[in-house]
Assembly symmetry: C2
Homo-oligomer: 424 residues x 2
């Protein structure tokens, strides 16, 4: 065990709740074996022996969480954006995912993706793989090697795929069980059940996945919900017995505490109440919802209602891997919803500080850590060097953070810590 006493120093900024920034100029985070012991404006005497990394005037924030993305769509990032969801799946997503039957290709792409995540300050993910078990194991290896933590899932899809991307119900169940057994002992990336979405899974498969979910109560579930109006009509045709989309998951025991549901663009009051009641997490993927023209999720309303919301890049429906970009896209679309949603008084657009919380604190909570820098949690942090940006003597620290959120690129990230270890 690494029990080294360490201290990092800089301008520390975090958000424990949506919209409220804590700003600690020129302060210290002390860790012991990677675990946070405290934040201090002066280094306490008892930690005088700590190994110090002084980041000077740089800004230190919690690292980012990405609660919804598709690893095998990384090669098609930024492609197919003239299409909408269902056409885009058939023309781009399925053929691209099919390439991951090739383990060598998977290794090349996933190694690059894992580093791309860490380089952009994302240290915790809920990630979809393809249906290929071998490629999923490779994805988990590469994420762990790079220091990315969280959950990864082998996708289940036994209907409505393509000739090259489909599995039988039996294969899907057997491979999922094997996938869980092979990976349940991992330290950094854990398995998660991943029915692609209702149209991709027969009722028989859903039933079997429900059984697996019951057998492994610690393994959460991730899927998609109410993303696009055509998709929702299709789900309704497939499950005429369910009043709403979420019930197609609930029916099979997949709608439970810590289930992760991407999008929820069209989740109405009743569906949102079901999300809240079950302890399900809604994942807002603003760039994806814009790029494939799905709509704008009612994030302001979800926050008011106390629905748990975090944020996802949803590559490659979304075209941006960096959660800083995803945060600013969330602000952008919230302004569009404010202008065009017909509820200007109730649905004020997101502030920069709120979006910052949604890419940091919200996801930290999902992964069992305290939003911000919680004592007893392992250090997950990003250090920003904003000296490459234009010279502006009038800015305070929260304005500097605001500018970093809008403009920050890979090269402005000086260091990234994941699970207490510096990875960059």
């Amino acid at each position: 065990m690494n029990e080294r006493l360490e201290a990092i120093k800089g301008n520390i900024i975090y958000a424990e709740t949506p919209g409220e920034l804590t700003v600690m100029p020129d302060s210290w985070i002390v860790t012991e074996g990677g675990i946070i012991r405290g934040i201090f404006s002066e280094l306490p005497e008892r930690y005088a022996a700590a190994e110090v990394t002084d980041y000077g005037d740089m800004i230190i924030t919690p690292s980012f969480t990405d609660l919804h993305l598709h690893a095998p769509q990384y090669p098609m990032l930024g492609l197919g954006m003239d299409l909408e969801l269902l056409g885009w799946l058939n023309k781009y997503a399925f053929p691209t995912e099919a390439m991951f039957s090739d383990a060598g290709y998977a290794r090349r792409v996933y190694s690059k993706l894992a580093h791309a995540l860490i380089e952009r300050g994302t240290t915790r993910v809920c990630i979809f793989s393809s249906l290929h078990r071998e490629a999923t194991n490779i994805l988990m290896d590469e994420l762990e090697k790079a220091g990315v933590t969280g959950y990864a899932g082998k996708v289940n899809m036994d209907r409505n795929g393509s000739e090259e991307l489909i599995e039988t119900t039996e294969e899907s169940v057997a491979e999922t069980r094997l996938f869980i057994e092979e990976n349940k002992g991992r330290k950094l990336i854990k398995p998660i059940l991943t029915p692609r979405f209702t149209p991709s899974c027969t009722n028989e498969l859903m039933e079997e996945l429900g059984k697996i979910a019951a057998e492994y109560p610690d393994i959460p579930v991730q899927s998609h919900l109410s993303e696009n109006t055509d998709e929702m009509k299709w789900v309704k045709e497939l499950h005429p017995d369910c009043a709403q989309y979420w019930e197609t998951y609930d029916k099979y025991g997949l709608w439970k505490n810590r289930t992760v549901m991407a999008h929820c663009v069209y989740s109405d009051e009743r569906e949102r109440a079901a999300i809240k009641k079950a302890g399900v997490w809604a994942v807002h993927c603003p760039d994806s919802n814009t790029c494939i023209a799905s709509g704008i999720a009612p994030v302001r309303t979800m926050l008011k209602e106390g629905v748990k919301v975090a944020m996802g890049s949803d590559i490659a429906g979304g075209a941006k891997l960096s959660m800083l970009d995803v945060a600013t896209e969330a602000i952008r679309v919230s302004k569009m919803r404010w202008l065009f949603g017909g509820k200007r008084d109730e649905e004020r657009f997101l502030t920069v500080a709120e979006a910052f919380y949604l890419i940091t604190g919200a996801g930290q909570e999902y992964f069992g850590a305290r939003p911000g820098f919680g004592i007893g949690d392992r250090l997950h942090a990003v250090v920003f060097d904003d000296r490459g940006m234009a010279d502006n003597p009038r800015m305070n620290l929260s304005e500097r953070l605001e500018r970093i959120i809008y403009l920050g690129e890979r090269q402005d990230i000086k260091a990234v810590y994941s699970e207490g270890i510096r990875r960059i």
Copy 2:
């Protein structure tokens, strides 16, 4: 005069009209003294002596044009985004612009901005300075040094500024005349008349600017139009005699061929007809219109009606300097307008190829060049090396361009040519 015969080789892509890409794999652009002599799939015998730069499998496109941006707002890029136009002007824009009374500060910031433009492939601009003549001259020096061409204007504002950012009518007129005389002989960056917007200029000032416009018929005009509903109400109060915003410019002789009007978010059929009739150019600034929550301009409709439209970053209302980012934001907001504008059949969202035209060909036409690579025009080009992006063996050349438009960053730009000279 540089009469060198040169040839660059690579995959050439350009758009001569909105939405139609010309793709020439593995082809040659030949220039003589920086002037394009032709594009060829094989190098013709008569050019065998050309000095060749072979970019291999890279992609060569026309460089970008940015028809609306505020140089002295560069230090506040990404700041103040929780505000709307008029509050944002007072709290952020005016205090930041006031700093440009300091020539040393102007030199530092403008040198950085000029290089930032070239590094992102922007070689032609219509740019606002502040009201300071000295800083405007410095801006023009720095743009020319870096190789950025086009127009720059000393801003006029003799009312509704701030204590630190205002000029008298007499000062404004005298300084503008001096500014023109000092700069009219420049080769790369020419002067342009720049009344900030109607609320910033008294009628007396507008009248004097109209006289100057008549005296110097080759000097165009740039300003703002119908950006924000509060702003439009204000203009209406200031000019009760004008039925529409554009008439406040027309009244003083500033509404003429090649006048550049930023935004036009709320320009209705009548205002758009006036734009078209006069030969005015509408500049679509999607990121600014989103970030300061102004609205979404009816670009699809303008294109259908034959209104001249090009694109602007409008930093720092917009948070993105790269025209690639501005192009994708234009696509994003067009999808929002398609979803929420109530005219799904008439206002189909922009395709990637249309947005590409708007940041290349449209602006080339404004500056008197042919969209694409016109024979007889000076070479303005960007060379992209997309090998840093994820490995995807299934892409064709137009898909590679699409991905570059969505993901391209500074480091993916291998070379930039402006006025026939390689600048990067």
